[in-house]
């Protein structure tokens, strides 16, 4: 069975690593490299259609000699994913409408829906590119985590991600007052690079510890019965801090919008709810890793001879992936 399990595990983790790479996407209007001269090439994935929203010539204003072209849809659809872009657009439009309504008159009902939509925006936002989820799951693959630790790490990352964005936006807005978005991007790029470097360092330390323990033939927190000690220390909080310090562009966009409308409190409330939503998604990922590890070890327990190897393998793979992810992202950000 291990012959199936180990490649599966490796494959899963490599996919996760690859998936985390586009965390580098930055606001292309303000900065960032793009792919230079390369033309967009079709990967040829046979994905379905985007939903046909009604042409809105009024908004776009079709003039003389111009037409809203009838859109020919491909004949089939099966992609929930392509539906998410319009959903997010609607969510964003809803948020800006709520902000404008709430600015005029506060009603508890509207406020409730506004915060709920902000929370949902956070949940969806965190499903997108970002290295927090990958770091959290690699970390909890390498060592035993608890429900509380997974939750704490996820929500802390979400909170810091939003708080860091708020800090950068507010400082830029009130101190420099101009070109806030461009400066946010510049600051974000620097903080991101620092975060990536620190993640790589943490990964290096984690890996070194595992290797050291293996060489010394120390059991890695394992009793004879294969029962693990809960991991000591607050290392996971450090990981959350380092991965969460990158300012969140989604939160910055909402906050800037409310600052422009002279309603910053609505922005901060929304960003708070959004942070909870992001924490929800990241925690869910971290907990998946916690229980994935648990299930692997439980399955390996039936074969005492390989249990040690599986246990060491998880520790080694998880910690070295933290290192690889951090260094890949850091090198990519230079």
């Amino acid at each position: 069975m291990m012959r199936i399990l180990v490649p599966l595990l490796l494959c899963a983790l490599l996919c996760a690593l690859l998936g985390a790479a586009p965390a580098l996407a930055r606001n292309p209007f303000m900065g960032g490299g793009g792919d230079g001269g390369k033309q967009g090439t079709g990967i040829g994935r046979n994905q379905g259609s985007a939903p046909a929203s009604k042409p809105d010539p009024e908004k776009i204003g079709a003039g003389k000699g111009e037409t809203v072209a009838p859109v020919k849809e491909p004949g089939f659809f099966r992609a929930l994913r392509v539906r998410l872009a319009p959903l997010q657009r609607q969510l964003k439009e809803r948020l800006s409408q709520y902000i404008k309504v709430l600015k005029e008159s506060t009603s508890l009902g509207t406020l409730f829906w506004f915060l709920l939509f902000s929370f949902a925006y956070g949940v969806i936002h965190a499903m997108g590119p970002g290295h927090g989820k990958a770091v959290a799951s690699f970390y909890f693959l390498s060592r035993k985590g608890t429900l509380a630790q997974g939750l704490l790490m996820g929500f802390l990352m979400g909170f810091l991600h939003a708080a860091s964005a708020s800090a950068v936006v507010l400082v830029t807005y009130f101190v420099l007052s101009r070109s806030v978005m461009a400066r946010f991007e510049a600051a974000g790029g620097v903080i991101e690079a620092v975060s990536f470097l620190l993640i790589a360092l943490i990964g290096l330390v984690l890996t070194a510890r595992v290797v050291y323990a293996l060489i010394r033939r120390k059991p890695l927190h394992v009793h004879e019965h294969g029962h693990e000690n809960p991991s000591k220390g607050r290392g996971f909080l450090l990981v959350a801090l380092v991965a969460g310090m990158v300012p969140c562009p989604g939160a910055a966009i909402i906050l800037l919008f409310t600052l422009a409308l002279k309603a910053p409190w609505l922005g901060l409330a929304s960003v708070g709810a959004m942070a909870l939503g992001m924490g929800f998604t990241i925690s869910a990922t971290a907990l998946l890793a916690v229980y994935f590890r648990k299930s692997v070890l439980a399955a390996a327990l039936t074969r005492p001879r390989i249990f040690g190897a599986v246990h060491a393998g998880l520790a080694l793979i998880g910690s070295s992936l933290v290192f690889l992810l951090g260094s890949a992202l850091f090198l990519g950000s230079l």
Binding site: Q39, T67, A299
Partner: protein, 200 residues
């Protein structure tokens, strides 16, 4: 497979789905216009107009409409262009063109301007792209997309196409989502605008 291994497999799958970026995640949404401009020789280029979603629009206005009059004077426009447009050169202005199946890399654009229309911020600029006309039809394919998917462009039915100064030519448009051109891991499907034209 024993139950235990099924559980392992289940968690592995879920983990891959959640730790990887399976979901689309744009921050800016654009609807717009693509006007194909002709001259005496044939197609001379494409004028694009991008209307932004409200949040992005308000930010740009907040940052670059310094005198708060709801429009950009030439000084404001110069700063805006420098700080929030010129960098798109690194992305070929998100504009991907094929002439008779041959890729035409967009290196430069001209006549950049920005303003507010119907409450929405827009950018507009001209992409020079000469294609001489003949009696046999020529095909120009235009796709506007951001490969990093920070920006979501031209959803189905949200792009206006048109021609200018094309009285001497037969023109024919086809606009469709092209699943074969799905880009990036986000599986976003760009809208493909195909213009066929020939001399009358």
């Amino acid at each position: 497979m024993s139950t235990k291994f099924q559980i392992v497999f289940f968690f592995a799958l879920l983990l891959v789905f959640s730790a990887t970026d399976t979901f689309a995640h744009p921050h800016v949404f654009v609807a717009g216009k693509a006007i194909f401009v002709f001259d005496s020789k044939g197609l001379s280029g494409i004028r694009l107009k991008w209307f932004f979603d409200e949040m992005f629009g308000v930010q740009i206005l907040e940052d670059y409409d310094v005198d708060r009059d709801g429009r950009f004077n030439s000084k404001e426009l110069a700063v805006l262009k420098d700080e929030a447009f010129s960098n798109l050169k690194n992305y070929n202005y998100f504009t991907h063109i094929k002439i008779d199946g041959q890729a035409f890399p967009v290196q430069f654009v001209r006549d950049f301007s920005a303003g507010v229309e119907g409450g929405d911020l827009y950018y507009t600029f001209f992409v020079p792209c000469h294609v001489s006309a003949a009696s046999a039809p020529r095909t120009v394919v235009l796709m506007v997309f951001d490969p990093e998917y920070y920006v979501d462009f031209y959803l189905a039915g949200e792009v206006v196409v048109g021609t200018e100064n094309a009285d001497a030519y037969n023109t024919d448009f086809k606009v469709e989502q092209n699943p074969k051109a799905a880009f990036s891991i986000y599986m976003a499907v760009p809208t493909e605008i195909t213009l066929r034209f020939s001399r009358k």
